[in-house]
């Protein structure tokens, strides 16, 4: 399985324990990157819609401030939704 070894940066000099850690870390890293990618994509879509309804010939400072606030607001909303969802799953496991 050369392909998989390359994908995880496994050369052959590592011990089995090191290889296991590399596999685990790589999977975790990939997932974090994917999660951040989706979040950034959603922020761009929703905040552009909100802050730049009529794109003009330049990006105004108002639009820029709006984007900054919107982004922070979106992340707060993400956290709020996440805790509401966790709470619901805990009190009502069938909703998962």
């Amino acid at each position: 399985m050369d392909g998989v070894n390359n994908m995880f940066g496994l050369g052959g000099n590592q011990t089995k324990e090191e290889k296991k850690q590399i596999i685990i870390q790589t999977i975790q890293q990939q997932q974090n990157i994917e999660n951040a990618r989706v979040l950034i994509d959603k922020i761009n879509t929703n905040c552009f819609e909100k802050c730049v309804p009529k794109p003009g010939s330049s990006f105004t400072s108002g639009e820029s401030t709006c984007m900054t606030h919107c982004m922070q607001k979106y992340m707060t909303a993400w956290n709020t939704v996440s805790s509401a969802y966790i709470q619901r799953i805990k009190s009502d496991p069938s909703s998962n």
Binding site: V4, K16, V38, K42, K73, Y74, A77, W78, V81, A84
Partner: protein
Amino acid sequence: MDASALGLGEFNEKDRKEIQSFIEKEQQKAKFQENVHSLTAMCWTKCLAQNKISGPGLDKNESSCLNNCVNRYIDAQKTVISQLERMGA
């Protein structure tokens, strides 16, 4: 992804099981995050998109709307599922 696809043949049973269960946990986490992404986008449209963005935080109405949005979505989803089950029975 399952452990056999990773070519984990060189690992012993215990290590393979550990990696496998780690992958399963990560898949659950990924599914959860995916759900939060879609809920956030949906509830953003319902609760926040019409409001003026006056600052970075959420006001009380906004956060309570988000809370209701998540819970009512799950209620609605459960209604559909139980209706489908009745139809199938």
